[in-house]
C-alpha cells in the first residue's frame, strides 16, 4: 500500500505497528483484546441501545406511543442521540405488516441506536434487491412471511433514518425489560429477521 507519508520513522503506520508489537511483547496488551475491541465498536455497541428502546416500547405502551410519534425524542429519553440534523422514525411490525429498512443510495443507518451497519447492509445486492424482491431477500435471511403479510420497504436518507419495532415474541409475557432487551437483535431492528423468544446460545 502506498501513501503520502513515505516509509520512514515518522510514518504513522510504521509507528502504530511498532507500538502495537512493543505492547504485545511486554504483555501489556494482546492482539485478541484489540481485535475484540474493534469488533465491539463495529458490531455491538449500537444495537444494544436499540434493543433497550424496543424492550421499553414492549413493556410500556405510553413509551411505545411516543416512540412511534417521534422516535428522535423517544430515544433521547433513554439517553441516546447524536443524530444531529437527522430524524429517526420508528416503524412497527404487526401481524399484517412487516417493515424492512434499506438505504438504496449508500448506507444511511440509525447509528446511535444500531451502531455500525453490517457489511451486507452496504452491499449493492442488498440495496437493490430488497426493493425489487423483498420476500426473496427476507427468505434468504431465514424469514418466511405469510402471503397476506404486507412488506413495507423504507429507504433511508441523510434526513430520515428508520428503526423497525419488531413484534414481541409470544411466550415472553413474564420477562423483565432487561431480559427482553437481550432477545432483540440488530437484524430484527433492520427488519430482515423477527425476534425469537429463545435466547441465542
Amino acid at each position: 500500500m502506498s501513501h503520502d507519508h513515505g516509509n520512514g520513522v515518522s510514518d504513522p503506520e510504521v509507528r502504530t505497528r511498532a507500538l502495537e508489537s512493543l505492547l504485545y511483547e511486554k504483555g501489556l496488551l494482546s492482539p485478541a483484546a484489540v481485535d475484540a475491541l474493534i469488533g465491539v465498536f463495529e458490531r455491538d455497541l449500537g444495537p444494544l441501545n436499540g434493543a433497550r428502546v424496543v424492550a421499553r416500547a414492549w413493556v410500556d405502551p405510553e413509551y411505545k406511543g411516543r416512540l412511534l410519534e417521534n422516535a428522535t425524542a423517544a430515544i433521547a429519553e433513554l439517553g441516546f442521540g447524536g443524530l444531529e440534523a437527522q430524524h429517526l422514525v420508528a416503524v412497527e411490525n404487526t401481524p399484517e405488516v412487516h417493515n424492512v429498512v434499506v438505504c438504496t443510495l449508500c448506507s444511511c443507518y440509525p447509528w446511535p441506536v444500531l451502531g455500525l451497519p453490517p457489511r451486507w447492509y452496504k452491499d449493492p445486492a442488498y440495496r437493490s434487491r430488497i426493493v425489487i424482491e423483498p420476500r426473496q431477500v427476507l427468505s434468504e435471511f431465514g424469514l418466511e412471511l405469510d402471503e397476506d403479510v404486507e412488506v413495507c420497504v423504507w429507504d433511508s436518507s441523510a434526513e430520515i433514518r428508520y428503526l423497525v419495532l419488531p413484534e414481541r415474541p409470544v411466550g415472553t409475557e413474564a420477562m423483565s425489560e432487561d431480559e427482553l432487551a437481550q432477545l432483540v437483535t440488530r437484524d430484527s431492528m433492520i427488519g430482515v429477521t423477527n425476534v425469537s423468544a429463545a435466547v441465542a446460545a
Binding site: 516509509n7 520512514g8 504513522p12 510504521v14 511498532a18 505492547l23 496488551l29 465498536f41 455500525l116
Partner: protein
C-alpha cells in the same frame, strides 16, 4: 460509564471522525491505533480521561502550530496521544519505541507488503 461508552460519547474536538454515522478509518493503521488505545486503557485499568486529555492536548497543539490549509489527520493526533500515554505512564521508553520503529522500517525494506 464504561470506557466504551465514554469513547463513543466524545463530542468536542476529540470526537471520532464519522461518515454517515460510521467510524471513519481511511487507512488500516487508523483502526489499529484506535483499537490499541481503547483496549490498552481497559486492560490497564486506566481512566479514559487519561487518554482523552492527551488527545485534546495534541489536537490543540497541532492547531496552534498549523494553518487552515495544512492537512489535518485526526488519527495522527490520536497516535501522538497514544505514544505520550505509554511513555508518560512508564509502560515503554522512548528508546524502546525508536528501536522498534527502526526494526519495522528495516523489515519493510525486505519487501514486506503492508
Amino acid at each position: 460509564m464504561s470506557t466504551q461508552a465514554e469513547v463513543n460519547s466524545m463530542t468536542g474536538v476529540d470526537a471520532l471522525p464519522r461518515s454517515n454515522g460510521e467510524l471513519l478509518f481511511e487507512e488500516p493503521w487508523q483502526a489499529r491505533a484506535f483499537g490499541v488505545a481503547v483496549s490498552l486503557v481497559q486492560e490497564q485499568g486506566l481512566d479514559w480521561e487519561e487518554f482523552r486529555r492527551r488527545l485534546i492536548d495534541e489536537i490543540r497543539a497541532w492547531e496552534r502550530e498549523h494553518g487552515p490549509s495544512d492537512a489535518y489527520d485526526y488519527y495522527e493526533r490520536w497516535l501522538a496521544a497514544l505514544e505520550r500515554l505509554v511513555l508518560e505512564t512508564g509502560m515503554v521508553s522512548t528508546a524502546e519505541i525508536e528501536a522498534e520503529v527502526l526494526h519495522v522500517v528495516t523489515a519493510d525494506d525486505h519487501g514486506h507488503d503492508h
